[in-house]
Symmetry: C2
Subunit: 215 residues, 2 copies
DNA sequence: AATTGCTATGACCAGGTGGTCACATGCTAA
DNA sequence: TTAGCATGTGACCACCTGGTCATAGCAATT
């Protein structure tokens, strides 16, 4: 994972760094790794072609740097969410978490876009590692939620924990995807839902889980 | 959707058609639409570069033809599954359907691969329509299953149907993805599961739903 | 003023892309 | 045998790709 960003980039004025990050983030999110054009990023950030190769070893290095940037953004957010939802029962925490997720992808659609692009593209450098890093967040987070829920007696004692986590993971992920991918959800109509409607749909889903999983 | 395949192609000997379809299917499944190389398909199917453009208008036309080919394969299979699972209660039907899905993607990994590639790639020709066509299958199928389950009194009467369908759709889709995408599932370990283990995991999930959704 | 070291630049490179076209081939009918 | 027509062919086109490199600019130090 090292040797991606060169020291030259880190010495740049922050404003210039941001402009480059912004251009690269947009291009990668739009097209994915391989079809993304370094030329486009270069002209979008108003620097010379040669310069980008003084900042990053190659396209792969640039991509990995951008991905790390995204990861740190997610990590920050997730820590915040974990704190905010520290109190409350299992289902309330779950509901708050899902709403926080929706908020995040609406605030950072390009970060989420890169994640979606990587999901099924074998040709992304170090894809396994990158995906693992992201998925681990979700897995650990849900696991801690479920464990606490069980400890507090809010979930059925005979709950098949791995299966339940799998279900929760699938459900949450798909909900987020449905918010920004048109015609992805077959019943809820999330694509063009207002914030209020989204809150309501989240509520419905959580209620469904509550009835099914609660003690 | 018309004007994709030219009559010349349909006059070809079936064996030759198959070879071309096979090469195109493989390349599109491997790389997705844009990064897929027509040159690779051409040399893989042992025909001349110029020939492919006598069979299809352009790369887009070739892709749409391949996709239609996939769709018809899915449709055939789904009809079969629907018949086979005609009898049995809701959860048994669901279980059989999921197992049939696993069987399908193991039999036709490239067809499923193309679907996965399209999911989050905005730059695929007529993506909206194509996705809609596929997702509609799943939606209608689950809807008919749930309706019948309710009519037979196998599902709780107060079930929030749209939310439940959303959940089922998410769960089934993710399960299939987890079977072929390494490090996608956080808990079940489906990637390297034997057929027997997969059956068991399916059983666990269905059992979880049974407890949660049954009347 | 001269030297030094970092940064900026864009013409340029080899290689690949989707797509074309003048020509060759082979089959059918006259 | 000839004519006509559908099909096969690969050199070729303009364009784009990621990446390089000789040159220039610029500031700080000597």
């Amino acid at each position: 994972m090292r040797d991606t960003v060169l020291p030259t980039f880190l010495n740049l004025a922050p404003a210039k760094q941001e402009k480059i990050i912004d251009a690269a983030l947009g291009e990668f999110a739009d097209k994915g790794y391989e079809p993304a054009s370094v030329n486009v990023m270069v002209s979008a950030s108003g620097i010379a072609k040669g310069s980008i190769y003084q900042y990053f070893k190659d396209k792969k290095g640039l991509f990995l740097y951008i991905f790390q940037y995204c990861i740190s953004l997610v990590r920050q957010t997730l820590i915040g969410v974990k704190e905010e939802t520290q109190e409350g029962d299992f289902f309330t925490r779950l509901e708050k978490s899902l709403l926080a997720g929706v908020d995040f992808i609406q605030r950072h659609p390009r970060v989420y876009g890169i994640y979606l692009k990587i999901l099924f593209d074998q040709r992304v450098p170090q894809r396994e590692e990158l995906l693992k890093a992201v998925r681990q967040f979700a897995g650990e987070y849900l696991q801690s939620l479920v464990r606490q829920g069980q400890a507090r007696g809010e979930l059925r004692a005979d709950l098949a924990v791995p299966a339940a986590i799998f279900l929760l993971d699938a459900l949450l992920d798909r909900f987020l995807q449905a918010v920004i991918v048109p015609s992805f959800d077959v019943t809820l109509g999330l694509e063009k839902a207002t914030p209020g409607e989204i809150r309501q749909k989240v509520g419905e889903l959580i209620q469904l889980l509550r009835v099914g999983l609660a003690a």
